[in-house]
């Protein structure tokens, strides 16, 4: 019991001592955490910025969707560690070496959710919008996208957890935020404290991000939680549980993708 206590308190002491170094902004745990947040959030946002228009195009022109989805799935089966190394000759040691593969991986989760979210807008809602004089663009922005928000955010939640845990793999090519703690400070020096701190902070960041997305969804779609909100939540839960893809078992709603280092 005391051994376990000593182990934990030793790790906490190390974490406090190495949290930040005044005058050296690039060193310390805080700097790695901020780098981790930068790499993962930029990747997720770029993924979303691609998935939204691509999803709209797939809904608008139906035949486009199957080949695009297959392409995204093939890309996803490329291991991230290999993709990081294959990026090296082109992007060197810049952030893009991590961001481009990570952003592409989020598509396998985000794209099916955007498409499904838009497709499940009830026909009577669409017709009501038309009857009220909404043009196609206004209908899209003020009716269809808001109705799709719960499903899109369900996808964002899965994608962000996967991305945040995958960023660490990029530390093998010298990037990777908290992964740097794990690889260069922990493993290469045979020292367990940085590894534990790296794991705990990565999981913590994933959980906090997830909570922020849940709150965002509540703020964006207050109607989903007023009274008959169950169906939206159920749908979101299902989107998380099933797997993605070309195999239309769950009518295309995907995403049980964790990380693929």
């Amino acid at each position: 019991m005391t051994a376990a206590y000593d182990w934990v308190s030793g790790i906490v002491d190390w974490a406090i001592a190495d949290w930040s170094h005044p005058g050296e902004p690039d060193r310390g745990i805080l700097a790695r955490l901020l780098e981790h947040m930068r790499l993962s959030y930029v990747s997720i946002l770029i993924g979303l910025a691609i998935a939204l228009p691509l999803g709209l195009a797939c809904v608008r022109w139906r035949p486009v969707y199957p080949p695009v989805l297959t392409g995204v799935n093939v890309l996803y089966s490329v291991p991230s560690i290999a993709l990081f190394f294959l990026m090296l000759p082109y992007t060197g040691f810049s952030d893009w070496t991590a961001i481009i593969p990570l952003a592409l991986y989020t598509l396998v989760i985000l794209l099916p959710n955007v498409v499904d979210g838009l497709r499940q807008v009830p026909e009577h809602v669409r017709q009501a919008a038309v009857a009220m004089g909404f043009g196609p663009l206004r209908r899209l922005v003020f009716v269809e996208v808001p109705v799709a928000v719960p499903v899109i955010i369900a996808g964002l939640r899965v994608a962000s957890v996967a991305t945040i845990s995958m960023v660490s793999v990029a530390s093998l090519v010298g990037l990777g935020g908290l992964g740097q703690l794990i690889v260069s400070e922990g493993f290469r020096r045979q020292f367990d404290a940085p590894i534990v701190v790296g794991i705990v902070l990565t999981v913590g960041l994933a959980l906090v991000t997830d909570a922020v997305l849940v709150i965002t969804q509540r703020l964006l779609t207050p109607w989903a939680y007023a009274g008959k909100g169950r169906s939206a939540r159920k749908r979101a839960a299902r989107a998380e549980a099933a797997d993605a893809g070309d195999d239309a078992v769950t009518s295309g709603t995907v995403s049980d993708h964790g990380e693929s280092p």
Binding site: V74, Y76, S77, V78, P79, S80, I81, A82, L83, F85, L86, L88, P89, V161, A162, I164, S165, M166, V167, S168, V169, S171, L172, L178, G179, I182, V183, G186, F187, Q190, D192, I195, V196, G198, I199, T202, V203, A206, L207, E240, A241, A242, D243, G245, D247, A248, V249, T250, S251, D256, H257, G258, E259, S260, P261
Partner: protein, 226 residues
């Protein structure tokens, strides 16, 4: 120098294809670790998933644990296990199992849970007992989702087995680690391409397995709803 010509040169060097550091030997090691990890995870995750899915007991706990496990950074888990337990095959396989169990478990659980209640009623109406309902109805209907979970897990395992080379065992990751250490770009890229190839072959294998194992009626249904 062009990346493609580097790769062609590396792959066409006959020295790559023989000996204990040759491509066939490294590929064999990689497949060995991956299969071991995947089989162990399947043996653990499928029965548990079938049980929680069939009875509904512990379903929330199972899925929450699996979601938590998904947030774990794999290399952190691998390096920590190796640091605490020493270098060898066992820590590597442990880390691979920790990685592969969640997707298989969640998909098995959800697959059994998601069986149409009308089908379950029909099975009970035909006089099936709990065990028969599970193995004659729920398992076959859940098979596509279980296989999908296994595919996700397998691709991750193949990818992560690469990191095994960082902790001193073999596999295709050796090319990446040694290539990095010797600043040998062609070796590093060659190793990466081999890992990608193995991952793609894995995906194709599961597509074949799906054809083999999923009942024809279910396949027709899946095609119809597409």
């Amino acid at each position: 120098m062009n990346v493609l010509t580097l790769l062609v040169e590396w792959f066409s060097d006959p020295a790559q294809w023989t000996g204990s550091a040759g491509i066939p030997a490294r590929l064999g090691e990689h497949v060995h670790y991956s299969l071991l990890g995947l089989l162990l995870s399947t043996v653990i995750a499928v029965p548990v998933g079938l049980l929680t899915g069939h009875t509904g007991v512990g379903g929330f706990l199972t899925t929450s644990l699996a979601n938590f496990a998904r947030a774990l950074p794999t290399i952190g888990v691998l390096f920590l296990i190796v640091l605490l337990a020493g270098i060898g095959l066992v820590p590597v396989v442990c880390a691979l199992v920790a990685l592969a169990v969640p997707p298989i478990l969640v998909n098995t659980h959800e697959g059994v849970r998601g069986v149409d209640p009308r089908l379950r009623d029909a099975a009970v109406g035909m006089g099936m007992r709990g065990r028969e309902v599970l193995f004659k109805l729920e398992l076959p209907v859940a098979t596509p989702l279980i296989l999908m979970g296994m595919r996700t897990a397998a691709v991750q395992v193949v990818a992560t087995a690469t990191i095994a080379a960082y902790v001193g065992v073999g596999g295709l990751g050796r090319y990446i680690v040694d290539g990095q250490a010797r600043q040998d770009l062609s070796m590093l890229l060659g190793g990466s391409v081999l890992v990608v190839g193995l991952a793609v072959v894995t995906t194709l294998l599961f597509a074949g397995l799906r054809r083999l194992l999923v009942a024809p009626g279910l396949r027709a249904e899946a095609a119809a709803t597409r």
